[in-house]
């Protein structure tokens, strides 16, 4: 049997697949340089602020020393207070996102399966996606009371639309040739959905889920702060009214760290799903 090796184009076959060790090293070095640079910036900024506060150029009330912020953060973590707050925020986010993911993907799929609905309501969905959902928080306070349930519902509403819209679009933009393949192979509807449509739509759906989770966390933290209920966000508001600026900044650093940790985690997870 003739072999095909001679027909394999040499260059572009496996641009991502082949690992050139030197390129890998160069990339690692660059990312290391970036991290180091960012570390320098953050530390330098901290040092300048430390000096500005210590020398009285900035009032201690407006901005505590960065070292005091860190102390408040560490104390809060050690005595378990911050962990409880984190637990509340994560629980709200988790429940809200799970609901948004389930409802959003289901509705997105149904909207595609019933083209008349998709065509009729697509513009309305896009319009709603640009609406300031977070401003509904007073309404939710009225309806659900001042408790984490209200925060969770806002997180759900905020995460729902991106999931719904991307799912709908993912199915809409499916490669039509896949559908032809499924028909020529005489797949049952169930097989076609589970084995062809779903895996084909999956990468885009994952992007939507990622977006939804980000929105949910943003809105949960935002409402916690605005309404002063729930977890980490509320602590910022409460510390402010207690006039404890070190605790306020501690909680602020905590919520920034939480957001960034989510981003990094999501990057990791989606990278894993997208690899191929």
């Amino acid at each position: 049997m003739t072999t095909i090796t001679n027909t394999k184009p040499a260059g572009p076959v496996t641009p991502a697949g082949r690992r050139d060790p030197r390129a890998v090293w160069r990339r690692r070095l660059r990312s290391l340089r970036g991290t180091a640079g960012r570390l320098v910036i953050v530390v330098a900024l901290g040092a300048v602020l430390e000096w500005a506060v210590a020398s009285g150029r900035i009032s201690q009330v407006q901005l505590p020393r960065p070292t005091d912020m860190l102390r408040a953060l560490v104390e809060g973590l050690l005595d378990g207070h911050y962990l409880r707050l984190l637990g509340v925020t994560l629980a709200e986010t988790g429940v809200a996102f799970t609901a948004a993911a389930v409802v959003g993907t289901t509705l997105g799929y149904l909207l595609w399966r019933r083209p008349i609905l998709g065509r009729a309501y697509e513009p309305a969905l896009y319009a709603l996606a640009s609406a300031p959902i977070v401003l509904l928080y007073p309404v939710l306070l009225v309806v659900f009371g001042r408790n984490p349930v209200a925060v969770t519902v806002l997180g759900f509403l905020a995460g729902l639309l991106p999931v719904l819209i991307t799912t709908f679009q993912a199915f809409q933009r499916l490669n039509p040739t896949y559908l032809k393949v499924a028909r020529v192979m005489r797949l049952t509807d169930r097989q076609a959905f589970l084995r062809v449509l779903l895996p084909a739509a999956m990468p885009s759906v994952v992007v939507g889920l990622r977006l939804g989770l980000t929105f949910t966390l943003l809105n949960v933290l935002g409402m916690e702060y605005l309404a002063g209920i729930g977890g980490v966000g509320s602590e910022i508001s409460l510390a402010y009214t207690r006039l404890r600026s070190d605790e306020m900044y501690g909680a602020l650093v905590l919520s920034i760290a939480l957001s960034v940790a989510f981003l990094l985690l999501l990057n990791r997870l989606t990278e894993r799903v997208m690899r191929r």
């Binding site: 003739t2 095909i4 032809k180 192979m185 895996p199």
Partner: protein, 276 residues
């Protein structure tokens, strides 16, 4: 036109096209019907390799899609085993011009796909797929994902995926159109080798004159829209063939003959496109 096939000994071909016509409506189904295919009759015998060739935009893809059962609503009859085709017949396999390999499956899994859907046991389908992957020359790429394969390799995967189902009739809709010339030549040669081994009936749509002559027993030249059969050219080149055939004088004569048949049609099709 069907008289041209009358000298053939058997009257029941593998694929019988009997007076098939088809019109499309533009403007989302509201416009005037535009005829795409006008009274086409053709008989393809068992084990025969027939190419459909014509100006781009003529109805040759429509005809092969009707034969595949992807277009159920047409006039006349395409028959396989005497049954009028309206949905995909179990005896056909199809290779598309567009990207049709599933990016979430490896080469091996892609080729196993159809077997898996029809409930073949894991061991059996692994072996069958393995053999087919060897046959199309992808033995060392079985565990790779399509993203790590070149366009030509992906079309080999698509070919293997169709062939592993042991179709009586293989329908190929411009399968090599997106590939570069050299890859195309080599894949054509491979296709000839595989077909002579498996004795498939092949209907091959192309707009490449040389490719049609290189591969086929008969070349069906079609007119511009609405497509009718202008002439059927017997390719009397000896078999087995390889790509060196392109340097034989007879090859050049046949290509020239096809071009003289198609020249006016191609110009007519171009004019129509520029007008419309």
């Amino acid at each position: 036109m069907s008289t041209m096939t009358d000298h053939r000994t058997h009257t029941t071909g593998a694929l019988v096209v009997d007076n098939v016509s088809k019109s499309f409506r533009g403007d989302g189904g509201l416009g005037e019907p535009v005829p795409a295919l006008g009274n086409v009759s053709l008989q393809v015998d068992h084990g025969e390799f027939v190419s459909l060739i014509g100006p781009s935009g003529c109805g040759k893809s429509t005809l092969i899609n009707i034969a595949a059962g992807l277009v159920g609503d047409y006039d006349g009859a395409v028959r396989i085993h005497g049954d009028r085709v309206t949905t995909p017949h179990p005896g056909i396999g199809m290779v598309f011009q567009e990207e049709s390999t599933f990016p979430w499956l490896t080469t091996q899994q892609n080729v196993e796909f159809g077997l898996r859907m029809s409930g073949v046991s894991a061991k059996e389908r692994r072996d069958q797929a393995r053999d087919m992957i060897e046959l199309v020359g992808l033995g060392n790429a079985a565990e790779r994902y399509p993203a790590k394969l070149s366009g030509g390799m992906r079309q080999r995967v698509a070919l293997a995926r169709a062939l592993v189902m042991e179709p009586e009739i293989l329908l190929m809709d411009e399968p090599f159109a997106a590939l570069d010339e050299q890859t195309r030549m080599v894949l054509g040669e491979e296709l000839l080798r595989i077909q002579s081994k498996l004795q498939q009936t092949v209907v091959f749509v192309t707009h490449n004159l040389g490719e049609a002559v290189q591969l086929s027993d008969r070349v069906v030249a079609m007119t511009a829209r609405p497509a009718t059969i202008k002439a059927i050219v017997e390719v009397d080149l000896p078999r087995p063939r390889d790509s060196s055939i392109v340097s034989s004088p007879r090859y050049g004569e046949l290509v020239a003959e096809l071009w003289s048949l198609l020249r006016d049609e191609a110009i007519a099709a171009l004019g129509e496109r520029e007008r419309g």
